[in-house]
Symmetry: C2
Subunit: 252 residues, 2 copies
DNA sequence: GAGTGGTCTAGACCACCCT
DNA sequence: GGGTGGTCTAGACCACTCA
């Protein structure tokens, strides 16, 4: 006997939202919540658009519009003839692209975690992560490498308990890129980020690592990485010698 | 007698494109070409969607989809109850926002043009503007001011003859923001830009203007501003003392 | 009030992927 | 062949803007 999905009635979820906003947006929001609760996975498709349309009691066109919106927001991925899937993070994206330093290569630098600890958020970290001052956070310090030579020092703060599994995991198992790990280990997909650049001076501790003298100018990049919801889940501060530093941005 | 737009038949433009690509994309491309040829202006609306649908002999839904695509690509702007317009550069937008320097204000700095001349493009300018080395270009040098104090020095190169009117115009008539002038005086709408940041050292000439000592670190921002077509119409190099410099980017 | 874009529906047909 | 998403159409009604 063929498996048959019961025609669940989801009008209630749809109607829980402000009726003044368009129907396709309400449906989109209802679906978004299910996505964010982890109801779907990237490996098996969501119900077909027709079935979803029935469950939410909207026309196919309206459901298609809602799904298209979620797809263009990067939450879903649709494949003709196959199905609609939860989107996995795209490691090729602009989030990783525009760090160029010295040599004219776009290669992702290597990395080495030199410290990991659970600490308490100071004022700046708490402000960035939106948690209380003194809340427990996971702190990582990494060196980014070109070949075997470090040229960037990164401090990364992650809220707990969201990232608790990363506090336990053997350091050797940390990948070069962290965002895919955030997704696979902690179910947290980075959707957007903002960065702020300033120029400071190398302190005595970092100068040898960065290959410059104490007091020489360093570029400081502070990044806040966010979920689709806007919640900040990573605060990262990267420091590198200003000489040879190059940062590129595309503005639209 | 009320003005009536003749129902021009534009099926030919639409059918000039590869019939294997979807109709709404072909229509979009046909419209895009008209936009790029300057047929429309930001101050008067395009024909109504229904009229366009008739001209291209497609359904309203298909035309709506084409227009929505051009709108989300940033080429057009649609206002309910009003009309569809060519999008003007958004002076509020990211193009102008993220220069923060010292004081925590987002106010647009004042400016004073201290030099204007017609010169020949050196290698870097020619490369940026996509013209020949030695081609005539218009060069402007500006000081950007907070209050009455300069804190940024800008060199701007513009291709000729596109910007010929700016070579004649009295300097007093130059506005604080140049992009609206590019649009109104030269019919050139800036649609996108890319910037590249590096750190250098103040030379003897600029140090007094920037309020720092010779050899102190300065931030250098090189910007290429482009039309919708991608053609670069401005190359700009801005220098400012690194101390107190802050540059912010939003990444999606 | 006339005209614009925005929403929503209903249904036909096509292209693609699987087994 | 059966099911998926993609395209396209046709038309009703609503919300907004402007004169």
């Amino acid at each position: 006997m063929p498996r048959r999905t019961a025609a669940v009635d989801r009008r209630a979820e749809r109607d829980a939202l402000d009726p003044r906003i368009p129907l396709h947006e309400r449906v989109q929001e209802a679906l978004r919540r299910r996505v964010e609760e982890g109801e779907f996975s990237p490996s098996s498709p969501l119900p077909a658009e027709g079935e979803l349309a029935g469950a939410y009691d909207v026309s196919l066109g309206t459901m298609r519009r809602a799904l298209a919106g979620l797809a263009s927001a990067g939450l879903l991925e649709r494949r003709q003839g196959d199905g609609t899937y939860l989107r996995r993070a795209r490691m090729d994206g602009s989030l990783f692209r525009f760090f160029r330093h010295g040599a004219d290569t776009d290669a992702v630098p290597g990395s080495r975690i030199v410290d990991r600890s659970v600490t308490r958020a100071d004022e700046q970290v708490a402000d960035a992560l939106g948690c209380a001052v003194g809340a427990e956070v996971l702190h990582l310090r990494r060196h980014r490498l070109r070949g075997d030579v470090a040229f960037l020092v990164e401090d990364i703060w992650l809220p707990l308990p969201r990232f608790a599994t990363l506090a336990e995991r053997p350091l050797q198992e940390f990948a070069n890129l962290l965002y895919p790990m955030y997704e696979s280990e902690c179910g947290s997909v980075v959707a957007s980020a903002s960065e702020e650049l300033t120029v400071g001076a190398a302190d005595a501790a970092e100068a040898p690592v960065l290959g410059c003298a104490e007091g020489e100018p360093v570029v400081v990049v502070e990044r806040r990485a966010r979920l689709h919801t806007g919640e900040v889940i990573e605060f990262r501060r990267t420091r590198g010698a200003a000489a040879g530093f190059r940062y590129r941005v595309e503005i639209r």
